[in-house]
Subunit: 131 residues, 2 copies
DNA sequence: TATAGACCCTGTAGCTACTATAGGGTCAAG
DNA sequence: CTTGACCCTATAGTAGCTACAGGGTCTATA
């Protein structure tokens, strides 16, 4: 079984340009070419791209995905490295949630205070303006 | 009272490059220059930059900040436009929190499942790999 | 007066993770 | 033999800065 880049894109929900971008970024190995210089992918590539997509959907950065891919190649190795990357990412996600939650509180407060009159007595503008 | 770009930066916690970037982006008006071609800012600039920083801290995009600034100039106008921008931003923040919370659930689940043995039986790698 | 150091200037390239062109080549169907 | 769908490379754009390179200006001190 071999796929064109378009087939691979459809199979994984990835744009063609993104696949080429992953190749240039070193996430996806450069595949063989046809006589007409078209890329041809096999099941290995499909698996690897699926892995990349899932990891990206979980919010891992490209560098983290690269690290996860290379760790996943060595089956006998300890998975401590994987755990470390995942935990670091989890902490980052927690940090973002905390930041956004604080932001949400602040924004809600401002919006409910606004009585929707004129700019002159708008609480949103007021709280953005210096004292 | 007039400030150099460095003074303005210190007063607002903004890097000099960022101030020049805001000027080029149309957020901050181009100030007067000294004989030696240095930018000189006054209190008006300081107020405007403070406004920008607060709005940015609240997560508004540069385009939103630009809109808020131009709305804030017309004191007699209704503040409905301001309210609209703030509410749109709030919804966006809520969406991000929801996304990150879902991600957090998923990541936590993966990490707790990992018994930290070898890659071969790592649940994190397993759940990233295709069936 | 000379010079060191802190500051300022413009312009450009870099970062993430793509996306969107421009300007071409390849291939199968009608 | 031509149309249309697909593919190719290379480059520029997105947000919001940040970091140079390669210069000029200003002030304090020897």
């Amino acid at each position: 079984m071999s796929f064109s880049i378009g087939d691979l894109g459809k199979a994984t929900g990835t744009k063609v340009e993104t696949i080429r971008f992953y190749e240039k970024s070193g996430l996806l190995p450069a595949p063989a070419r046809t006589a007409g210089n078209y890329r041809t992918y096999d099941r290995e590539h499909l698996n690897r791209l699926s892995f990349i997509r899932r990891a990206r959907d979980l919010g891992f950065s490209l560098d983290q995905v690269k690290a996860l891919l290379s760790l996943s190649d060595d089956k006998d190795r300890s998975c401590l490295g994987v755990d470390e990357i995942a935990k670091a990412h989890l902490i980052e996600v927690e940090r973002k949630i905390a930041d956004l939650t604080a932001l949400h509180t602040e924004l809600s407060r401002l919006i409910t205070q606004c009585s929707c009159g004129t700019i002159a007595d708008c609480r949103i503008i007021e709280s953005l303006s210096p004292a």
